[in-house]
């Protein structure tokens, strides 16, 4: 038999991948995974405590005729990104054009179109929002994307909101 060590070493070199995903992408993917896990655990806890009804009521579902300009005396600016995530392992998130909707606890929905890069800027009153989104140019289509957890916008505003469209 040929020298096993030599054969295996050559084989290990041949099996090396030509490309590798960027490490920050791995870290981001892990953080998203944890956020989803925490959100799932929170939902279960909420359901167990009998609060599931309140949570489901906060889900905006399809945007309707209640869309209107933001109310509230202290509008602040929120920026973020509508992005496509998932797909083959190593695929980084990619900003996509579309629309995002901020639904406040009182049912007010504030829409904002995104740029081609997926970036958006929206002005809303400080408060708590469930954020959803949809790719494409039709603002009437049902939201298929969402931020992982409800957002709390302080009077200082908020940056870096990620609205994820998962590839299935």
């Amino acid at each position: 038999m040929p020298d096993l060590s030599e054969l295996l070493t050559t084989e290990a070199i041949r099996l090396q991948p030509a490309h590798q995903p960027a490490f920050p992408d791995l870290v981001r993917a892990r953080r998203r995974q944890r956020t989803r896990l925490i959100a799932g655990v929170a939902l279960i806890a909420l359901a167990g405590a009998g609060g599931a009804t309140a949570f489901l009521e906060a889900d905006p579902g399809r945007p309707d005729d209640t869309v209107r300009a933001p109310a509230g005396p202290f509008p602040v600016t929120v920026t973020g990104l509508l992005q496509q995530v998932g797909g083959p392992q190593g695929t980084p998130p990619r900003g996509i054009p579309g629309t995002v909707w901020f639904r406040a606890d009182d049912g007010t929905i504030t829409p904002a179109p995104t740029a081609d890069s997926g970036r958006f800027t929206i002005t809303v009153a400080a408060g708590r929002y469930v954020v959803t989104g949809a790719p494409g140019g039709d603002p009437q289509q049902p939201p298929t994307c969402r931020a992982e957890t409800p957002l709390t916008v302080s009077t200082d505003g908020l940056t870096g909101v990620e609205v994820n469209c998962h590839i299935r």
Partner: protein, 165 residues
């Protein structure tokens, strides 16, 4: 150490040895896709333990051992791998070996995973029996036995494939 400098340091380690580690782990894994997942997970675990790992003589060896252990654990969690396959679709195909070469990878994959790990650690990484025993958390006698059985099986398979080539 704060998170950002640790992330930078691990990122540097990742850039320097990811491909090499994937090549080695693939020898013991059912596929390169699975090897890549184990190596990536091992690097992510380094992040939270960088204070300790950075003090070691070879952080790469620590990552490699964790990746090997993850590979073993995965055998017990095959259901997760099936879910990932359904989620991501089939893994990319690996480059085929040149036709005039013995398909060593094929021969390796006919071995049980414990034997594969022992062979790779001993014959590729040059670890001693005691070092392998420590890494795999088994007795040195078990490592010797796995190596002996693996060499016998490989010799038979490689002879067979050489004859048919």
């Amino acid at each position: 150490m704060s998170r950002k400098p640790a992330e930078d340091a691990v990122s540097e380690l990742y850039a320097s040895c990811y491909r090499r580690l994937v090549g080695v782990i693939t020898l013991a894994a059912p596929s390169r896709a699975e090897a890549e997942e184990c190596v990536q997970e091992a690097f992510l675990r380094v992040l939270s333990r960088w204070d300790h790992v950075s003090q070691l003589d070879s952080p790469e060896a620590w990552v490699r051992t964790v990746a090997f252990n993850l590979l073993s654990n995965r055998r017990r969690k095959a259901r997760n791998a099936i879910r990932a396959l359904l989620r991501h679709g089939p893994p990319p195909t690996e480059p085929p070996p040149s036709p005039n070469r013995v398909d060593l990878t094929h021969a390796m994959r006919r071995l049980p995973i414990g034997q594969r790990q022992a062979v790779v650690m001993h014959h590729v990484l040059g670890l001693s029996i005691e070092e392998i025993a420590r890494a795999l958390k088994v007795a040195p006698g078990t490592v010797k036995s796995r190596l002996s059985r693996a060499r016998t099986a490989l010799a038979a398979t490689l002879r067979e494939e050489t004859t048919h080539a």
